[in-house]
Amino acid sequence: MMPDLGKYADAVLSSYAVSIVLIVALVALSIRRARKVKAYLAEIEERQKNV
């Protein structure tokens, strides 16, 4: 299944590894911060509603 990358296997595989790790990290951090900020805002709005 894995194509024969020959003598350039390290270069090709490391390119894919670096890029995929960076993209996944960017997506994961964006989602994490979105959830955190949403919950924080909801908490503030709730608190101010009760004042």
């Binding site: 194509p3 670096v18 949403k38």
Partner: protein, 242 residues
């Protein structure tokens, strides 16, 4: 209906909430299929061997790195001219995405350059302008973080964005301006001599579509986050005044 309706944060969040899932699913489908197609089902190049497979990451990432800055430029101009907060926050939201795309383009370029050019780095016009673009991304994000007042930060970062646009354009056209250096010209071109063969360009188009959709989905998500963070700061400030 006017486009300026989306300058309303509530309307923006409502609309992007509806669009985001389609963009995200489209991005995953295009990226997974494009990368699998390119990695497993394209032949080695007669000169570059299997390193040609790096094109499916390097070219879309470089394209997005430049176009993310151009999107930030448009959003910054909208802020300067019409003072819509959503546009300034959209520019802020796009910066980390553009910075990551620039790192991917620089890293994959260096990894590709080593076996092909015999060096990881060379002070070639395109590479150098790309590195400067990356430094502008870092400066832009640092400036947003450094200034407490959102409107002042938006004003100053917009000016920085205008200046940085010179390097965004240069990193695209540096090869043509100076006609020197190791980096080749455009991979995708209307000129058949320059255009890469269809066997490589077809999966490349799919990957580019995936990167564009991913960028849009992330800009929507991160702009929503910035809008909420700004509202939270405003509410906290009001709480302190009371």
């Amino acid at each position: 209906m006017s486009i300026w309706e989306y300058a309303n944060p509530v309307k923006f969040i409502k609309t992007t909430d509806r669009l985001m899932p389609y963009m995200a699913v489209g991005a995953v489908v295009c990226l997974v299929s494009g990368l699998i197609w390119g990695f497993f089902f394209t032949p080695d190049d007669y000169r570059q061997g299997s390193t040609v497979k790096i094109i499916y990451l390097h070219v879309p990432a470089a394209l997005m790195a430049i176009n993310a800055w151009l999107m930030m430029l448009v959003a910054s101009l909208v802020w300067i001219v019409r003072r819509h907060h959503v546009s300034a926050l959209a520019a802020r939201a796009a910066a980390p995405i553009g910075a990551v795309m620039t790192i991917i383009a620089l890293a994959t370029g260096a990894i590709w350059g080593q076996p092909m050019w015999g060096t990881w780095w060379v002070w070639d016009p395109r590479l150098t302008s790309f590195l400067i673009l990356f430094l502008f991304y870092l400066g832009y994000m640092a400036l947003w973080e450094a200034i407490e007042n959102d409107d002042t930060a938006a004003d100053l970062t917009s000016i920085l964005c205008l200046v940085g646009s010179v390097f965004a354009v240069l990193s695209r056209y540096a090869v043509l301006f100076w006609n020197q250096g190791l980096h080749q010209g455009a991979s995708l071109s209307l000129d058949k001599e320059e255009h890469v063969h269809d066997v490589y360009s077809n999966p490349l188009y799919v990957c580019i579509a995936g990167f564009i959709l991913l960028f849009i989905a992330l800009v929507f998500l991160r702009t929503q986050t910035e809008i909420r963070a700004r509202r939270a700061r405003a509410l906290i400030a009001r709480e302190r005044l009371a």
